[in-house]
Amino acid sequence: MGSMEASTAPENGTAAAAAAGASTACNGAAASNGGGVERRLRSSAASASWASHLPLEVGTRVMCRWRDQKLHPVKVIERRKSSTSSSPADYEYYVHYTEFNRRLDEWVKLEQLDLETVETDVDEKVEDKATSLKMTRHQKRKIDETHVEQGHEELDAASLREHEEFTKVKNIAKIELGRYEIDTWYFSPFPPEYNDSPKLFFCEFCLNFMKRKEQLQRHMKKCDLKHPPGDEIYRSGTLSMFEVDGKKNKVYGQNLCYLAKLFLDHKTLYYDVDLFLFYVLCECDDRGCHMVGYFSKEKHSEESYNLACILTLPPYQRKGYGKFLIAFSYELSKKEGKVGTPERPLSDLGLLSYRGYWTRVLLEILKKHKSNISIKELSDMTAIKADDILSTLQSLDLIQYRKGQHVICADPKVLDRHLKAAGRGGLEVDVSKLIWTPYKEQG
């Protein structure tokens, strides 16, 4: 799956939003802003009587007032009659801010829209063409999917469109989880009886979800779980890592997937959680071990993936947890004695975060290493796959070809420059505090 959300940001070691759909938004914006301006000029002259456009059609483009109180261009994705109003014209509109990622899509009221700016031309076709152009460069989806949480790995145009179609409207707008009330980012396929809820309440420890606050409070009285239902495999200070087997704790695993999907765009919950291990990162205090992020991993990966999905919950982003999770996944690989790589495709931010990690690790070694070294040796030392090492060094221009052979440039000044650009490391993994043996299938 490899959709990377909210776990890292290059600069301040934080978890910025992974914009899996960012490019879509940006590219769409690039295409449509240019065209949009033109159209707006045309149509605003023509549509003096904007009232006749109500209720707005799906696909309409208009300016909308965002949380920063400024107007931003949006496209109407969906509409529904406002439950509180009796007037037929009183609709609510689900809009997509074309400058931003889909995660900021939301239901807005009519008053937030500036109807003077309505464009009536529905440019679906233009958009589709743009979409299909982008998508044909991808390969076909693999038919034999054996992982849960498949990213839109090598999706073709039709599948991606299909995915975006059924996930286009967020079903749950807000959730309450422990200390925080969090706006969701994406659609998550909760059981149908939950689809009408604007807000869900999650038990912080067992991750059961409920529709009303009182139900959660009643649940908390009987729920005695104070930490994820697995083995604690790492503890350093207040930071703990728990390993949960999807087979042994199926309901917890499913709950975690439902929750994570709210913040990951291209995660799918197609298959069951049996074949996965969940590594849940927690901050511990006298109330319990509170989840701040997690990553999932296949029990047996054919493609030597050492990580499937990774997420830092929004309230805990930009604190170094995401980078900790990446480093931790490689420490597990080292203990297993295998090289590993994250599941593909990575979102563009996912790629950046991993590049940051790879850069830091590899360049630190090159700074200290005296004699020559092979890519394979670097791979054995770090558990990073040779391909990833190569692409990292090549993207930094550190592999040169002179006098008939390849050399690695390790000028300290150059390396320091790259290290600075890669950003700080996140929280460090203290390997001495890791007590873990690789997963073994039982009888």
Binding site: S23, Y180, K213, K250, Y270, D286, R287, P314, Q405
Partner: protein, 451 residues
């Protein structure tokens, strides 16, 4: 010169690459080729955007910080809802198994429908409290599930509406211990049953079967795998029982049997070889003895010598000297270092060395019994007699007579030469009294390391 047309060899990841510490080294007269990652191994979920410049790390970083994300807020009642009752143990926490399997945890939580119904039903009175209702609904679900299990109608995936089998009276009986008034119980039972009929599936999520594997509805999740996942090992194929594997096994069996036959034949062959070897050895020994005998007969010693050998064998059995003299009398197969005493048990007709006597005659030939001569018999050089003239020519002389003590004169010793171990020339002195070439205890060995 157009360097760009020059294509470098592909990079071998096993080959050690030199690390160049100074950038200046790379800027020498020979322009180097900077290798950019041509087709990047990693692909984003979106292709490299050309115009937006997101591919370049630094500008994307700026975008990262500028990308807004949805917001979050604090929950006021948090401190109240979550109690400070967690005591972190000093050792790492171990999992204790899923709650559903151990103990009596009530997995079911009331949903909106249940709460609304309860409010209605209680109607300002306190017929039933929510916790009790929760327990009841949970128990009804599990009892019904067990009943369906016994009836054998549980399906592994969701294939159709799931009926309620549990009857009111059996439920009542099973849940007597909860001490619920009959009327209340009945109301709850009816409510639950009607809800089940509307839902067409269990209301407890754990008991709801997963969607079938071929279900294409994207809103349905957590399908089971098609077949049990097996550890991917080389044995994976053979665990299936199929015609293919049967044939393969048959072939394997045949091969093994052939191997067994081969081994048997091999063993026999080796045994025969050993027997042949032993026969040959025995033969050699006889030959040796026989040759020696022939030689002795020539010299007129023969049987008496043999008998002496028999008696003197014991005398010399323990002598240190014996250990070092090997001559040809010993059979070839034995290791030269074997001490004599071990071999005393060996064929009694074996002659001791002291009986071998080499006259100084020139051209003495080693007499052989013609019919025993085996053209393939290895030539044992050390059994050849020593030619005294050649010795003289080489300047090798017998050792000097030892100094005479107590004034007695002794006749000069007579020596016989032979080739000892390692090609050393050994002079054996004849026994001064017997005037026979006895040499064990009086041997003068010019150079032997062991004593």
């Amino acid at each position: 010169m157009n360097r760009l047309s020059f294509r470098p060899r592909p990079l071998d990841i096993h080959k050690k690459l030199p690390i160049v510490k100074s950038a200046r080294e790379l800027e020498d007269d020979e322009p180097t080729l900077a290798l950019r990652a041509a087709p990047p191994v990693l692909r984003h979920s979106q292709p490299e955007p050309a115009a937006d410049g997101e591919a370049h790390p630094t500008s994307s970083k700026k975008n990262v910080q500028e990308i807004p994300t949805p917001q979050y807020d604090d929950v006021d009642t948090y401190e109240r809802d979550y109690t400070r009752t967690f005591a972190q143990p000093t050792s790492y926490i171990r999992a204790r198994g899923a709650r559903a399997e151990i103990g009596e945890f009530v997995e079911y939580d009331l949903d909106n429908e249940d709460e609304d119904w309860l409010e209605d039903y209680n109607n300002e009175r306190k017929n039933l409290n929510p916790e009790k209702l929760e327990v009841l609904l949970f128990k009804l679900e599990t009892l019904d599930h067990k009943a369906r299990e016994r009836a054998g109608i549980i399906t592994p995936t969701f294939l159709g509406p799931i009926p309620v089998i549990l009857q009111l009276d059996s439920a009542m009986e099973a849940l007597q211990y909860l001490s619920i008034r009959y009327a209340v119980f009945q109301a709850v039972y009816n409510y639950w049953k009607s809800k089940r009929e509307r839902w067409q599936k269990p209301i407890l999520r754990r008991l709801q079967p997963p969607p079938p594997v071929n279900d294409t509805n994207p809103y349905n999740v957590f399908r089971p795998r098609e077949k049990a996942y097996r550890l991917h090992t080389r044995r994976m194929q053979r665990r299936e029982n199929s015609v293919q594997s049967f044939d393969k096994l048959r072939v394997v069996r045949r091969n093994l049997e052939q191997a067994k036959t081969l081994m048997g034949a091999l063993i026999k062959r080796e045994e025969r070889k050993r027997e042949t070897m032993e026969c040959e050895v025995h033969l050699r020994r006889i030959q040796m003895r026989y040759k020696h005998e022939a030689h002795l007969i020539d010299d007129g010693i023969a049987l008496s010598g043999l008998q002496q050998a028999g008696s003197s064998e014991d005398d010399y059995a323990d002598s240190d000297d014996t250990a070092n003299e090997q001559p040809y009398v010993r059979s070839v197969a034995f290791h030269p270092r074997f001490p004599d005493n071990k071999l005393s048990a060996v064929p009694p007709l074996r002659l001791k060395r002291e009986l071998k006597r080499r006259p100084h005659q020139n051209g003495w030939l080693f007499k052989r019994v013609p019919e025993m001569r085996d053209p393939e018999e290895p030539v044992m050089l050390f059994t050849r007699p020593i030619d005294p003239d050649k010795l003289k020519m080489a300047g090798i002389r017998p050792p000097l007579d030892p100094p005479i003590d107590s004034g007695t004169t002794a006749p000069p010793f007579r020596w016989q030469a032979r080739i000892g171990r390692g090609g050393r020339i050994i002079f054996d002195r004849w026994n001064p009294f017997l005037q026979v070439p006895v040499g064990q205890e009086t041997n003068h060995r010019p150079s032997l390391p062991e004593g």
